[in-house]
Structures are given as C-alpha cells and as structure tokens.
Symmetry: C2
Subunit: 550 residues, 2 copies
Amino acid sequence: MEKELLRVIPLGGLGNIGRNMMVFEFNEDIIVVDVGIMFPEEDMLGVDLVLPDFSYLLQKKEKIRGIFLTHGHEDHIGALPYLLKQINVPVFSTKLTDGLVRVKCREHKIDTSNFNVVEPGDNIQSGAFEVEFFSVAHSIPDACGLIIRTPLGNIVHTGDFKLDYTPVMNQFTDLTRLGQIGAEGCLLLLADSTYAEIEGFTPSEQKVGDSLRHLTAAAEGRVIVATFASLIARIQQVIDAAVLDNRKVFITGRSMINNVAMARELGYLEVPANTIVGVEEMRKLEPNKLTVLTTGSQGEPTSALTRMANGEHKHLNIMEGDTIILSANAIPGNEKSVYNNVDNLFRRGAMVLYNRVSDVHVRGHAGQEELKLVQSLLKPEYFVPIHGEYRMLVTHARLAESVGLPEGNAFVLTDGDVLSIDSEDAYLDGNVDAKYVYIDGKGVGDFDETVLRERADLSTDGVLVVIVTIDEETGDLVGQVEVVSHGFIDLNEHDALHDRVAEITEALLSEISAKKDYKKLSRQIQDSIAKFLYDETRRRPTVMPLIIDV
Amino acid sequence: MEKELLRVIPLGGLGNIGRNMMVFEFNEDIIVVDVGIMFPEEDMLGVDLVLPDFSYLLQKKEKIRGIFLTHGHEDHIGALPYLLKQINVPVFSTKLTDGLVRVKCREHKIDTSNFNVVEPGDNIQSGAFEVEFFSVAHSIPDACGLIIRTPLGNIVHTGDFKLDYTPVMNQFTDLTRLGQIGAEGCLLLLADSTYAEIEGFTPSEQKVGDSLRHLTAAAEGRVIVATFASLIARIQQVIDAAVLDNRKVFITGRSMINNVAMARELGYLEVPANTIVGVEEMRKLEPNKLTVLTTGSQGEPTSALTRMANGEHKHLNIMEGDTIILSANAIPGNEKSVYNNVDNLFRRGAMVLYNRVSDVHVRGHAGQEELKLVQSLLKPEYFVPIHGEYRMLVTHARLAESVGLPEGNAFVLTDGDVLSIDSEDAYLDGNVDAKYVYIDGKGVGDFDETVLRERADLSTDGVLVVIVTIDEETGDLVGQVEVVSHGFIDLNEHDALHDRVAEITEALLSEISAKKDYKKLSRQIQDSIAKFLYDETRRRPTVMPLIIDV
C-alpha cells in the first residue's frame, strides 16, 4: 500500500501580505484554498498586480479536485480568473463570494458553469478530502473558514477571521463547531496572523455603530463617510445611523454604487424605501438631512473622496460644516495618500474624523487573545501560521506555544515551502516555485526583476542617450555625437553638460582603434560617461550609448 | 512714528514634517529660528535632501540680526550651512547643538567664528528682539525652547518638546519659567504639533530604562540594541543596563561610533572604564557578556543593523540566542525598510523586540495632555501650531481652543504664510515664497517638478528610444530605424515589438512630406509610437524619438 502523505504548500500570503493561496495534497489528490492577488509594493515600479506562481499546480493539473474560496476579498479571489484560464476544476464558495467571482470571471470571459454555491455546514467530497465550510466574523459577509477532513486527520483553515461576540448582520465565528472539532481531534491548524502582534481583542463592529450614530446625530451639516465597498456591515451601520437621524443617503464612487446595489439585491443590506437619493434630490436637501457614502478610504487617486479632497468632484463641494468620517484603516503603503486627503479636506474647512482621533473603525482580523482562544478550542497537533509577514508568523507561532502547542510543532513556512505530514511526523520537505508573477498592462509575467531594477535606476536619476553615427566602411565618426537626456537635470543645465559628454565621447572614439567591436565600444562609452557624470553631478543616470552604422 | 508691526513667517515645517524654519520680523529687524532640512518623500524620486526656500531672507539680508537653533536634529539645523554660504550672521545655540553645527559647517568650509554657545537663562539682544533659551525635554540633550521678547509682547517658541517629569540626564522642560512668562503675559505661543493627534501623556524615558534592564538581564545570549545616534539618553540607558548585567559594550555604525565619542568627550555620557570593547575583545566574550549598540533603527540600506539582517556585517553574524531590540519608532515612510529588517533578523533565528510588541521606545514629542498643560500655563493671546502636517496643526489649534484660547486666535499657517500682529490685532497678511529646494548629488535647486515628473514617468514603464537617420540633402531615411528600450519589457519580448515600432516609424516617414520640420516629425513619431505601445501593451513608456542628420 502506498504511504499516506499529506503535503501542505503555501503559494502565497506567507511571508508577505497578499496573493493568498494554499495547496493541500494527499497522494493523488490536490485541493486549493483561495487564489488571491497582491497589490504591488512601492518598489514594484509600474506593476499593476502580483499573481501567485501557478507553475507547481500546472505540472500537477490532473490531480486538482477543487478550489475552495474562503471569502470575497481580492487578496483571496483576485487571481482566480488567471488560474481558470489554464485549468478547469470545480470552484466552491458561499453566496456573496460566488457572486463576486462570477462577475470577475465573466469579465475575463471564463466559463462559470463549474462554480458551486455552498453554505456553512455543507460537506464537499473532493478526492481524498472532505471539506466543510464554517462561518467566521470578518469584514465582508459570508466569510468562512474550512474544516478539511483527510485520512490522516482534520485540518482547520480559519481563513481571515476575528471573533466579535456581538457582530452586525449576525456574522459570528462558529466557536461551537470549532469546539466539536477540537473534541474530535485537530491534526493541523492554519490560522490568520495579520494581527498576531496586537495585544487583546479586536473590538466589536457594534462599537463603530455607536460612534457613527453619535457623530451623525451631532453633525450640524452633511456627514460624508468613506469606507471599503465590500464592508457591507459598515455600510449598513452608516445607513442605519442616517435613517435614525432622518437623513437621506447619497452614494458616490463606482464600486460603492455597484456593491450597494448588489448587496441589496442579494439581501445583504436593509435599506428603507426612499432612503437612497439621486443627484437631483440630493441637491435639494438641507445639509443636516444628508449622509454621503463614498469610496476613497485608501486615498486612491481617482476615487470619489480624493476628488472631493481636491475640489474635483462633479456633485460635491466640501465646505465648512461638513463632517467627514474615514471609517477605515490606512492599509500599509497607503498612509501618505490617505493623510494627504485628510489634510486637503481639513484645508477645505471640513471636520475630519479618522481612526487615529476617533473610534470610527475596527479591524477585520483577530488579536492575540482571540488567537489564543482558537488554539485552546482546537488543541491542534501541528500549527502553521498563515496570512502575515514573517515577523507576524513567528509571533503567532510563539503565541501558540505559549498556550500549549508542543514545542517544535509550529511550522513557520514561507511561500513555496513544503510541509509533509505522515502518520508519524511532520517535517519540512523542500520547496516549489513561488515567485512573484507581475501584471503590468496587458502583460502577465512577461517581465521580471531585471526590468524592475532598470526602472528603479531610471527613477532616481533619469536617462542619458549618447548617439554615435559611424561610417560603416571607414569606421569614422559621421557628423557629431548627439546627446539627449530625460529626468536627469534641469533644462538650463542641459546644454553645457551635453556638450561635454559629446566631447568626451568624440575624444574616446579618436583613441580607440577597434571601432568595429561595437559592443566593446558601447561599454567603453558607457563607463566613461557614467564616471564623468558622477564626478560632475554625483548622480547616476542610466547611460544608453547607441551606435548607428551608415 | 513708524507703526510697530510683528511678522511671523514659517519657511518650513508647517504643513509638512521637516525643514523647520521660522522667521520673526519686527520693523527693521529679523531673527530666524532653526534652519532644518527635510528628508525626501517617496515621490521625490532621486532627491537626496530638501532645503527651505531662502529667497525671502536673501531679499532682506541686511535686516537679519541672528539665527537661533533650538536643538541639534537635522530637521532643525541641517540646512544651516546652505544658508550661511549666502549670509553671515551670528548663530546662537546650546553646547551640544553648537558642537554638531560646527562639525557640519566645517565640512562645508564655512567660517564658524560667529557661532555662540548659550545656556538656558541667557538673554541675547538681537535687534528689537531679546531672546532667552529655556530647557525642554526631547530626544537629544541640550534641547531648548525660546522666550522672545518684542516691543509688542512675549513670544514663546517651544521647539520640539515633551514634558517627562522623570527624565534621564536631568533634561526637564522648565515649567516654572513658563509659569513666570504666563504671569508676565504671552502674546504669541508657537508649539510643537507632532503628536497633537495622540491622547494622553508621552511616557517617561525611564520606562524604557526599565524595559532595557529587564530584557538585558533576561537575555541568554547577546543583546543588540539599535537606536538613533543622537538619542544620547537612550544610549546611556543601554550602557547602564549592560553594566548592571556585567556585559561589555561593542559599538558599530559610523554615526553611533562618532556620537558616542563626541558625547563622552563633552560629558554627556557616563561610561565606566573598560566597558566599551573593540572587535578583538568582543570576539573573546561569551554571548551573555556582550551588548551591541548599533545604528540602523530606520532600516537605512547601508547601516550596521541592515548589514546584520542581510548577513553582511563584517564582525557580527546574527544567530539563535541573540536578542535584538529596536529602540526606536519607524519614522513615517521608513516602515517597509524597518520591518524588512525585523523579518530578516527573525529569519536568522534571533528574538526581535520592537515597539509594536514591547515597551522599548518612547516618543520625543508631547501628547495632547502635555500640550493642554503648556496652553494652560502660558494662556497666550495668539497661537500658531508648528511642526506638523496640516491635520496635526488643525487638531492642535482646536485643542488650544478647548482649553481656553479665544476662538479665532489660533492661526493655522502653512509654509510661506505671513501672520502680522500689531498692537490691536493679528491677521493673515499674504505670503512669501516657500517652495521646496531639492538637493540631488552636487546640485542644489538645479531642478524642479518637471524633472521629478519625468522620473516618475520613467519609473513606471521605462523608456523607448527611436532613432531615425535622415540624409540631410534628400530628406530620405538612411538605413533602418533603430529602436532600443530600457525598463519597459522583458528581453524575450523585445525584438518583435521593436521591429514593429521600426516598421510603424518607417511607414510614417514615407507618408510625411515635411521631413525637414524635425520638431514636428519628432512629435508625430512620439504620438504614433506611444499610441501603438499603449494599445499593444497597456503601458506608457517615455518615447524619445531622435532624428539624426547625415
């Protein structure tokens, strides 16, 4: 009989935040949990999105039995269309998640007939795996974790979660079910590490509701709330606070308009009739009769809130008396854009409330006490911290050990690492490809770190092009050396410096005999000019020598 | 008699953090407080430093009576050499600040014979102004605020400060003196807004001392502490904790080595004999007998801590058992580099303690309760919040109003705004030039936003150069159109795309009659190729057409 071997392989999300994707392999069967994208970091110049590396899966195409999606955030579902272009397997998710991936896949012209809507408690047999969804509290409706039964034991994958004993919209984390699994036995736990560094408990969503009601009632003018378009519970609370204060609600920003419409259609939002108003009606309302719900909580350059902050919104001019609430955290990397907006909104005379000065947001992930509780309920044999940068994963592993996980049984994996588990033991077992796959414009994976390094060089000191025209027959310089630059130095300084670059190049050409070896000549020009420019300006523009034969 | 008019003009630090500089003008006399630099923000590509705009001062050169420096941080003194290259006036500061600016000015070959060391309590008559330094608690020794007497009343400028009733090295904020001035009357208060958003009190530096002693005693191996080289009180506490635990101290990182030497020489650090060891002695010590003090708390790429994190430090290899303490906050903009280091140090098996998970740092600026206390002591007639981004200034102004400042008497100025105060009233009075002056390499102010925009374009999609060689006489194309690109697309994709760009350019040339109008031709090539590339790739490289006459 073949040895029973479970392999756990993260393809994204472990070591860096984003592009979450986990592969579980048991002998001849593979299931995949989440297929997310990552938003580019600041040094990924010009990159639009980052995908996980699918190459390991594509090698084992015929083994893949199903894809399971925990919830509808982009870092968990955004890369699915790119994977489904290459394989066709059943996809399982809850109602809202399914709705979101269908829209996305249709845009990519991908067949969705193999998409299945499941409910918490449903069991899906998928090769050797039996997968059950369980409800978790998170910042989007219908979020779930997974209980994955394997011949070697039960795996629990929390997805993104927090606890919240008094959630809005009844979205509890199903602690009772986790308790049952703990009693049954949990071979392996994989749990969300996003806030493993943060002490205590994440406060309840209801706390934000209290603030929103209070601030709305106290506002003498308009209330303008920016939040994530997928944070439906928050949107519900903004609407509730407006209704309670006899305000109408105007919605702006494409994704906010679309999501509110979709959430109402699917029954995720309760909005009394005549609450939402259009532009015409909005214009007729007294300021204290209006709440505006908008996108732009991350300072996105073309979002509605940024347009308001810059005085460029078609329908809304920020003025004294406006109360603006940023009901969101700045995601790391977005701080500068978010606070730029806050500053500009203040400049227009508005009162701005944001997380640093007011209780207008709660996090979507569990803090340390919640993580300990889940460990204590499940008492797993092995533990893999997921969804975090490296220090968060390490901190989470130590936290687990502090509440009873046997030492040595926490595995801090990063993307591509293979954890093998058999009936005796768990151990690191090499690794598979898990590089960043960049999307830039239409190109998917058509460039790599070399291009990014070139862009980084260009970004700091610009480019200088030296054109040398050479007579093919005599090897002599024809005409003058031409020099142009871009992003290097101010126009007024151009000419003198360009002239000297031309002179140096001409002097170099007159010295060198092997004019036919253009590659060598090119390198010599590059070295001399780069050195000259550095000595002269202490800058290092990218020097591009071009030799033209005529 | 000429009307008595006081003008207050911030040239930096109000609306953005950094390059602090304030001008006070009374009829024919000007004094300047601080002349700092700003570190470039992420969108200032390739910029090394940002200076304040001196043009207003240079117009009024002969009126300047003195420059007063509150403390020795770069954002308060870093631009002084650049100003002193253009004017020669007396400079006043306390001992450590004076030592730091002398070093800096000598590097710039600037005469320092006009530099004066003062002590708290000293009065300097400077034209119509009489300036008194008073001691404040901050994250560098010898920090001061200023009491500036004018014919219209007293001005108090806090400099950077916090309170800290139990400071290390006896560096109190002189509340008693402020109380006296409050009793005498305070016309105008200018106070530090850096943490005006933060509730409560900044904890005492002693709290960090407790943590450092505890962590050092508990460490089984080496203790490696990274902090700011100018934070002498912290360095003292690291050394004290080491001595208490019978450890020797090894110092690494150029600025840390220099500052410790300077601080010992000037009597700011007390280090028992034989405590500090060199490389040879360090190598012989048991790990639990060694504390390392290092630079790199901000993740600076060539700093000692970053080299350790990357396994590139000449003398120190991070290993299991090491306890690494980041005794600093990540300054906004540095988060990614700082946390990269933390992740890499964890990867090498060390235990890493940082502000998010441990009490190993306190801020250098006052929180809300401290700011309220200063308002209550001084009861100023007018208030200008300084040292902050716009939202911090607004928040600070409201805070002042909440503790009794008459409404309308807080002026939220930004750089270049002029506040005029006469015997009757205070009012905004136009503005002066206060643009960013960029330093890049050797160039000071030799480029502007245009160059930065070019660099931004280059950074996202690279550059593509199209070279067209034309026969000067016939106007015909000579040879082929040559195409090269950089930072645009992967090498494998190059050729086909370059060939098509060449074809399109050739087709365009055959159509166009007015070949002699090279400017127009160049623009046409640029437009066509940019459009083609965007359609083809959804990228927008900078297209540089070059037309060569032969």
